[in-house]
Amino acid sequence: MSDTTIQLEVFRYRPDNGGPTFQSYEVPYHDDWVVLDALNYVKNYIDGSLSFRWSCRMGVCGSCGMQVNGEPALTCAAFVRDHMPGPIRVEPLVNFPVERDLVVDINGFMEKLDHVKPYLVRDDEADDLSAEYLQTPTQLDRYKQFSMCINCMLCYAACPVIGRVDEFIGPAALALAQRYNLDSRDQGKNMRQDVIFQNEGIWECTFVGECSEVCPKHVDPAGAIQQAKLEGAVDYYKRLLTPWARRS
């Protein structure tokens, strides 16, 4: 342990007590600490009133996304040493309403997730549980990347379209829609198209690509959306040119 310290500038907001401010805290420096460790040091030993979400501290529960020096990041994966000598500015994720300190309201996302029907849809009358559906490693590989989303919301904070259009379904939810559309076991693609192809769906995306840049799990939501656009455009022309063919 050394005597080195680092300064945190933390966004504070109490709805029952005035507007937002930044508060500075001096915390010990450890070269293997992540920003979340520093925040926990503050909460544990300096100021218990600092409010933020966290749980697994191993980058998989998706709770601890915040803006670290202006960039959306999982604070359990953002090392303090990468921001030396500091100070480190910690803010709630942008584009979301802030409820308190570093806690944002993600209910909007929860509704959008619900809208894209993120589950397998089957035509079977009854679920026969005597055997698994077959799926080859190649078929799995088609959608696997899009199934890695931890719902951490960094992509929503990085997306300038979300910042202007509230109704935009957004990167993570659209990537999950594409995840199910590409799953060989799924038969519900048509049910999802209304949501995906509406104005607030994929066409709202201008391919800024920042969502894929900040994604800690390399899901590449931008890629998922462009693929959906391409498929949508191809489908549209197919139907235009072959009006006699029934929509599958």
Binding site: Y13, P97, P160, R164, G209, Q226
Partner: protein, 131 residues
């Protein structure tokens, strides 16, 4: 008691960081391409009129300031094209016949296509000029 705070980026989003600004600029390059197309259409229009009008317009296009404008437009067009090529692999479904296509291959194919089309155009212009 709850009083959620709105911290959306709003219309100045593109000033927020360097990468947003570059994307904004990239989209803005389409204005130069539009201008070049308008200039070209005017050229066609003038070509259908008498020689004097046509030559006056051609001299206008060769004015040093206009040449600078063309070069800027060319740079922007190339930048737009290259950045488009580089992100294209993300937009294409990743598999053909069960195998993942390497991004480098897709990017390479586009540059090869661009080179081929450019070469053909040059050859055609040269051929037209020769006959």
């Amino acid at each position: 008691m709850n009083r959620p705070l709105d911290r959306r980026l709003g219309w100045t989003w593109w000033t927020r960081n360097g990468s947003y600004f570059r994307i904004f600029l990239r989209e803005a390059t389409s204005a130069f391409i539009l201008a070049e197309v308008v200039l070209f259409m005017l050229l066609l229009h003038k070509a259908g009129q008498d020689a004097e009008t046509y030559l006056a317009y051609r001299d206008f296009l060769w004015h040093p300031l206009m040449v600078v404008f063309h070069l800027v437009a060319l740079a922007f067009a190339l930048w737009h094209t290259i950045s488009f090529f580089l992100i294209a692999p993300n937009a294409l479904p990743g598999q053909v016949a069960g195998r993942r296509i390497p991004a480098a291959f897709i990017i390479g194919q586009q540059f090869a296509g661009l080179a081929a089309v450019t070469l053909l155009l040059f050859l055609w212009v040269a051929w037209v000029g020769a006959t």
